[in-house]
Symmetry: C2
Subunit: 443 residues, 2 copies
C-alpha cells in the first residue's frame, strides 16, 4: 500500500484508494512458477483456435452431464444401506462433514483392487484435488527454513507452486531414462545434510511422469525405497496417470512400501471427473507428540486441512463415490474406453513424430508406454518467446520445458500432450509443429 494511485486522474484525486505493490506481497506471487502458470493460461486464451499440444487435460468425449444425478443417486443409495437413517444420509452429503472425508472406504477399496495397496481408510484424507494433498503434506513437513524438498528436475509445476506457498526450497535431482538418477539423489541428500539442512522428502511421479512420460523400473523403485529407509527420507508418490498404461507394469511405490516410507498422493481428475476436484492422500506414517501421544501423519494433515478448506465438498465426493460404486470401486474398469483412447493417441503421436521427424537431424523424442505426455528435443531454443511465435504464426501450442524447472531459462525441449485430442487434431497439430520446426531450423 502507499501513495495515492491515479493522482493525475481528476476523479480519484479526493480518494485515498488502497494500492498494493506486488513486491510487498508474498514472494510466491512474483516467482517464475506463478508467472509460468499465468503465461501458459493466458496464451491458451489468446489463441483459442490453435491446436493445443500443451493442455494436460482428460479427453472430454466421454463426459456426460447426466452422469451427475446418476452418480449422486448411486452414492445416496449406498449411504442409505449403510446408515439406515435418511436424516443421516442428508446430513452426510449436505451438512459440514468429517475433515478427512466421507468416501475414504470406497477409495481404500479402489486402492486394493486397482493398485494392490492395502490402506487403512483412517489413514486417508480426501482433498480438493491432488494439489491440496500436496500442499497439506508440504505444509506439515516444513517446520523451518532448514527443511527442503527434493524433486526430479523437470517436475510438475504444481509441486513448485505448493512448495512456494510454504517457502520450502526445492532441491533438483537429476532425471534419467527411467525417471530418476539415484546416484544423484544420494549425492544431493548428502550435500543438503552437510549444509545443515533437512531433506524431508523426495517428490516423484513413478508412472508416466509429468512432463517426461517416463516410468520407473521395478529395480529403480526397490532401490529408491532402500535409499529412503537408509537416509530416513519420505517419498511423495504422485500417481495421476498410472492407470493409463500396461496393467502388468511394476507396482506403485506404495504397494512395495513395507516401512511407511511413502506418502501416496492420489487424483480423480483423470480417472474420475476433473470438475469434482477430488483427490486424496494416504499418509500412514506414525507420529508421536511430546506427551507420548501417537497417531498418523493423516491426522496431522487433517488438522492442516481444517484450517485451510475445512472439508472437501461431500457433494463432490458423492459424485466420485457414485462413479466408484458404478464400477465396483475399480477405476481401471471405469476407464476402459479412456485407456484405449489414450493408448491410441500415444501410438498416433509416436507414429506421427516418426513420419515427420524421423530423418530430421537434431530432432528426437522419448517413447513413453502410457500417460499423457512425451518430450520432444529440437535443435533450437524452445522457450516462451518461441512458443508465442509458434502460436501466432503456426496455430499450435506446446509447453516449454523450462516451466518444469521453475526457472525462466529456455531449453531445447518441449512437452507435448495428447490426452485430450481427437485423432485429426493430433495430425493437424503435428503438421503445424513440423512446419514450425522446419522454419526455425532454416533461420
Amino acid at each position: 500500500m502507499g501513495p495515492r494511485p491515479g493522482a493525475g486522474a481528476a476523479d480519484d484525486s479526493e480518494t485515498d484508494y488502497a494500492e498494493l505493490l506486488i513486491g510487498d506481497l508474498h514472494a510466491s506471487l512474483a516467482s517464475p512458477v506463478s508467472e509460468s502458470m499465468n503465461f501458459l493460461n493466458e496464451i491458451a486464451l489468446r489463441y483459442p483456435d490453435a491446436v493445443s499440444l500443451a493442455a494436460g487435460r482428460p479427453y472430454e468425449g466421454f463426459f456426460d452431464l447426466d452422469d451427475l444425478p446418476r452418480y449422486l443417486s448411486l452414492y445416496r443409495r449406498h449411504l442409505t444401506e449403510r446408515l439406515g437413517d435418511e436424516e443421516d444420509v442428508r446430513r452426510t452429503v449436505l451438512q459440514y462433514g468429517r475433515t478427512k472425508g466421507v468416501i475414504h472406504e470406497l477409495v481404500a477399496e479402489h486402492l486394493r483392487l486397482d493398485e494392490g495397496i492395502i490402506a487403512d481408510p483412517q489413514d486417508l484424507v480426501v482433498t480438493v484435488g491432488c494439489q491440496e494433498a500436496l500442499y497439506l503434506t508440504l505444509r506439515a513437513l516444513r517446520r523451518d527454513e532448514r527443511d527442503v524438498l527434493l524433486a526430479v528436475a523437470p517436475s510438475y509445476v504444481g509441486v513448485h507452486g505448493a512448495a512456494g506457498l510454504v517457502d520450502m526450497a526445492v532441491v533438483p535431482v537429476r532425471d534419467a531414462a527411467d525417471g530418476i538418477d539415484l546416484d544423484d539423489l544420494v549425492a544431493r541428500i548428502r550435500e543438503v545434510k552437510a549444509e545443515g539442512r533437512n531433506p524431508r522428502a523426495c517428490y516423484v511421479i513413478p508412472d508416466f511422469a509429468n512432463p517426461s512420460g517416463t516410468r520407473m523400473s521395478l529395480e529403480t523403485r526397490r532401490r529408491l525405497l532402500r535409499i529412503a529407509a537408509e537416509e530416513d527420507l519420505l517419498l511423495l508418490e504422485d500417481n495421476p496417470y498410472g492407470l493409463f498404461g500396461d496393467p502388468d507394469g511394476p507396482p506403485t511405490l506404495k504397494a512395495l512400501d513395507t516401512a511407511t516410507r511413502v506418502v501416496y498422493l492420489g487424483s480423480f481428475a483423470k480417472t474420475g471427473l476433473p470438475g469434482a476436484r477430488v483427490g486424496y492422500v494416504l499418509a500412514d506414517q506414525r507420529t508421536r507428540d511430546a506427551h507420548g501421544g501417537a497417531g498418523t501423519l493423516a491426522d496431522q494433515l487433517a488438522k492442516v486441512k481444517s484450517m485451510l478448506t475445512v472439508n472437501t465438498s461431500p457433494i463432490a465426493q458423492a459424485v466420485i463415490g457414485g462413479k466408484l460404486l458404478a464400477h465396483g470401486c475399480s477405476l481401471r474398469e471405469a476407464n476402459v474406453r479412456e485407456v484405449a483412447t489414450y493408448r491410441h493417441n500415444l501410438t498416433r503421436m509416436l507414429d506421427g513424430l516418426e513420419r515427420r521427424f524421423g530423418d530430421v537431424p537434431g530432432v528426437s523424442w522419448n517413447a513413453p508406454e502410457g500417460g499423457f505426455f512425451l518430450l520432444l528435443t529440437v535443435p533450437f531454443q524452445a522457450g516462451d518467446e518461441q512458443l508465442e511465435h509458434c502460436a501466432d504464426r503456426y496455430q499450435v501450442l506446446w509447453t516449454p520445458v523450462h516451466h518444469f524447472y521453475a526457472d525462466t531459462r529456455p531449453r531445447n525441449v518441449m512437452r507435448l500432450s495428447f490426452s485430450h485430442l481427437r485423432p485429426e487434431e493430433i495430425e493437424a497439430g503435428l503438421d503445424r509443429l513440423a512446419r514450425f520446426v522446419r522454419d526455425q531450423q532454416q533461420n
Copy 2:
C-alpha cells in the same frame, strides 16, 4: 523422523519404519488453535446424545437431497442459454476450469440485490468455502515476519488457524458492545508500527460476530473505514451471518467502502448449502508490479489458488449457482424460512435464559439481534475441563470462549449457539445448562 519406533515389539524390530515427531512438523500443528479444533470435534463425537449448544451449523430441517439434481439442472439450462454450445456447457461443469470460478456473475448479482454491493465479477474469486478465501488473502498479504494481522479478541477460530498456516502473528484488538473498540484499534496500530512491524489488515465480522453475536453500528462502520484510510490498512470483512437479521440494519462495510479498503469474504455455507463448500472473496484493490503492470488483488489471490486447490469444483459451484438462479439471485428470498427459524430460536434462547437465569447473581448474557450465537457469562471458570464435566454429567455442550482467543486460559464466558436446534432441544439444552450452572455455583 528418527529412532525406530516399537523397538520393543518383535514384529517391528526388523523394519525401519518412518516415524515423525510432532515437534519436527510445522508449528501450527502444535498450536492451541489446532488443539482447540481437535478437542471440540472430539468431545462432540464422544457425547453424541448431548444437546449441542456448541455447533455453529445451519438448521438441517430444510435440507433436501432432491434439490441437488434440481439445482444442477437449473444451472445447466442457464449455461446453455448463455453459451449456446452443449460441448461448452459440459466442459464448464465437468472439466478443469477458470481459477477464479464460473458463478462469479451470479454472485455479483446476489451482492447487488442483497447487500447493495456493486462488484465487478472479475474482482471475485470463488473459493472452497470462506476458509480458503481467508487463507488466500492472508497468504498474499504476509510477505515476512513483520506483517501482522489485527483481529478483535475473541474472534472466529478459523482466522487464527489460517494465520497460523502462514506464520502470521495476530494482534488482538479489544472487543466492545458494538463489536470493536476503535480507540484500542488505533492504539494497537500505532504500537505495531512503532515496533517496526506492518499492520496489513484488520479482520472483523461486523454483522452478528462469531462468537459474540454483536453487530456494529453505522457510526462504528464509518469510523472504522476512516481509520483504515488514515492508517493505510485493509479491512477483511467476513459476513456469513449478515442475512440472518433485520434487512433494514446498517449496510456492510463493503457497501460503504468508496476507497477499496475492504476485502469482502463471503460464504454460502449458511445461506446456500454447507456441503457445497463454496465461498468467495471480493478483492478490488489495485495492484502494481515492478514493471508498472496493473491488476487487482483478486488476480493475485487467483495465483495463490492455482497453487493451492487449482479451482473450486465447478460441480459444487453449479449447485450454488442453481440455488441462486432458483431465487432470482436473492439469497434473502431463498432463506425466508431459515431467517424465520433462526429468529424464533434466538427469541426462544433469550426468553429461556431470562426464565432460568433472570435472578441468578453473576449470570448474564448479551442479546444479539440476529446470527447464530450469543455469549453467556457465569460466575465461575468455564474452560475445557468444565465443558467435559458438563458434557459427561449434564449432557449439554457449549464452547469455552478461550478457544476464540487462541489460547488455553479458561474464562468465565461460554458461547451458546442456537442455529441448528429444534425448539424442544433448546429447552432441554437450557434446562441441563441451568442445572450445571446451579451445581457449579454450589461447589
